[in-house]
Symmetry: C2
Subunit: 429 residues, 2 copies
């Protein structure tokens, strides 16, 4: 039996492992630092209290129950030595015959450490719970503040990045402001709450059609979100956002969704890292010069004629690559030749609040209620585990009927302004 | 308008606040360190992965939506000055005309700091998530351990305390071991996993009938739980449990449910604190010598002929006292005399795993499936918020059919052995 070790139980890693369940020659070891798979496209729902972590995350061991071929190990990967076929982890060294890098991407702050330190992100369950706690704690503080300037800085929210994640966050927050928060916080005047969306480029959803860019801008504006295109956030100290043109905006909640880059992996440095921290692979997802190392999903930089800079970093690409690599490995078992990967573009969607979404699918571009229902349908059928589907569906239906978001517990205490205090104390001492 | 300040949004505080919604003369301020009410009787379900935090906790602000008379403030109470009518909190000083202490109880380690430091508790959502994470992380570690002694210490679980909480925990863990964990961790031999229940007294459920004590022991034993009566836990270092008779048991997960005591409140010290940190009150729940200070629920020590040492520290007492105090306050509005509190004993129940429960109600004592269904029914109708009812019901039905516990995410990374090192991740608290 050959040992295939997959680093990361995201969309790509799971798709590959599922394929290899049929194998007779491969023993699969799947590594992840969490004991669960995260359905990242719905993290914004956890962040804004519409769903609970358990609705969008599912324990990896449950997925592979009764699959003796798939071995899961919860650990962090510290580095690799591809020449010695070794992976260094928090639970010891792991040998492999075939290694598949599927560790995904992380937030890219483009080197701005100040922004990295003070802003919130949306790449994990932890991130989304932090955002939720931060927002609610700021509202609780705002009630006790007499100073109007402080209060507006506590209740304002800014999103940086005009991609699907940024739009979805902005839309969900706007609906909270418009329908939910005034009921929970009668003490506060939410007409004073500003929601900003900053995008450095000249349009929203730059990877989608011109129709979707335009339509989504319309939707955001109708929800009362202040969209600023061609606007770069230059700095952020946790309280004041500084734009490239010098404008200063008081805002204690800033969510950064303006970029991602591949997750570093010490030991892979010498092998063809390219733009955005992604690892170059050939048509078979093989890492150049390493015959038994592959990369799939966000971490892999694979090109075709339509996508000379690499495929978009999204779930569908990862799933297709994972499945395809699995099929190729199974082909080896049957002495068949490998088939090069071909990306099938399923289209793209983004939702902006209730009843509003945009979709570019198979040459069609459309928006409105139908796009929104389609978006909901696609996401519900994609959620891992039927229990999550039922619960999520109930939550959504209830939100839909009541214009409400039922959840709002501060499970993880979190407060930006406290972070500074603690650090100040350390410096003083 | 007189200002009534209630400390604590537990069962007692909520019941009182709800009553005072009808008032024309009182303005109510409700304080709690969390922004949500916790349904404590079901914490063990969150701890063992059967329910999610959002199912048993509900934001206080939602409960009092559209109730302009009820003001909620999230803060910690640092102390009080009953002679100056002042409450000192993390958001500043609060004045009151009437103060109601409803801050509940906390775990009592009877002065053993070693045990306090290394054991897990079950008084809050945070506690229950910690238990869950601790258990799962120990199982993940056990897989990577070659040493048999270490491995058994990682998978064993001990519960200290033979009250309802201890029995419910033990039963839920036994069912996990018997039906769920072997599917998720085929690498481990769960016939080696020991579940202990230590009780210092000579019977379980000492506050219930002899029938219930005997029957519950039968149930626990049939689930494979090792119940040890007349057994005192003398010490615990996080790895080895030391009993009073010198026996040493390797066990890295110890849940302490052996006692509770009233939550301290600096400033109340000089006013009649009695046994177990409870504050003595008269028949009107008034704190002796303080005409405008009241105490209800676990923190209040109120006696009658049947309960000369005070009423049991449970939800029903708190709810009855909260309602009653509310009615008395409303009587003042109508120039009516106050009525002394009379405790109506609704009986007691405890559940031990699936299909097994014991109940002492109105002189009847019974066990088995009927008691279990009654237990489930009573708890579901008591959960705050209809959404929680539906979701909890679905979870339970699914568990019932599948012999399963669907949830098992490590949301809060937690490991006892690491606590000393890092004070575990400031983000968490």
């Amino acid at each position: 039996m050959k040992r295939v070790v997959i680093i990361g139980a995201g969309f790509g890693g799971l798709a590959l492992a599922k394929k290899l369940q049929k194998s007779t020659q491969y023993q699969v070891t799947l590594l992840d630092k969490n004991n669960f798979h995260t359905f990242q496209p719905l993290l914004y729902q956890v962040a804004t209290g519409g769903l609970e972590p358990g609705n969008i995350a599912y324990p990896v061991r449950r997925i592979f129950r009764d699959q003796s071929k798939i071995n899961f190990k919860m650990c962090e990967v510290k580095g690799v030595d591809p020449l010695a076929n070794k992976i260094f982890t928090t639970i010891g060294d792991i040998d492999y015959d075939i290694m598949v890098l599927a560790q995904g991407a992380k937030t890219n702050f483009f080197g701005n450490e100040q922004i990295a330190k003070h802003s919130l992100t949306l790449k994990s369950v932890t991130d989304s719970l932090d955002f939720r706690s931060n927002l609610i704690q700021n509202l609780e503080s705002a009630i006790n503040t007499m100073d109007e300037h402080d209060r507006s800085s506590m209740i304002n929210v800014a999103i940086v990045g005009g991609g699907p994640a940024g739009l979805e966050m902005a839309g969900a927050i706007a609906e909270m402001r418009n329908y939910v928060l005034p009921k929970d916080y009668p003490e506060l005047d939410f007409s004073l709450m500003r929601i900003y969306l900053f995008e450095a480029g000249n349009k929203l959803l730059s990877s989608m059609s011109a129709y979707s860019s335009k339509k989504s801008l319309e939707y955001l504006t109708s929800l009362g979100i202040e969209v600023r295109l061609n606007t770069q956030v230059k700095n952020y100290d946790g309280k004041i956002i500084e734009l490239a043109d010098g404008t200063k905006i008081p805002c204690q909640t800033l969510m950064w969704t303006a970029g991602v880059k591949g997750n570093d992996l010490p030991g892979m440095d010498m092998f063809s890292h390219l733009k955005g921290g992604r690892i170059e692979v050939d048509q078979f997802n093989r890492v150049n010069n390493l015959p038994n190392v592959f990369a799939i999903g966000d971490i892999a930089l694979q090109v075709d004629e339509v996508n000379p800079k690499g495929f978009p970093m999204m779930a569908t690409v990862a799933i297709q690559q994972g499945k395809h690599l699995g099929e190729n490995l199974l082909r080896s078992e049957n002495q068949k030749d490998w088939v090069p990967f071909k990306y099938f573009n399923k289209g793209a969607m983004a939702t902006i609040g209730r009843n509003r979404a945009v979709a570019d699918i198979a040459g069609f571009k459309f928006g409105g209620v139908f796009a929104w229902f389609l978006w909901m349908f696609v996401h519900i059928i994609s959620l891992v585990g039927y229990r999550n589907k039922i619960v999520s569906f109930i939550n959504w239906v209830e939100n839909y009927i009541n214009y409400d978001r039922p959840l709002g517990l501060i499970i993880r205490k979190y407060k930006r302004s406290k972070v500074d205090k603690v650090e100040e104390q350390t410096i003083l001492e």
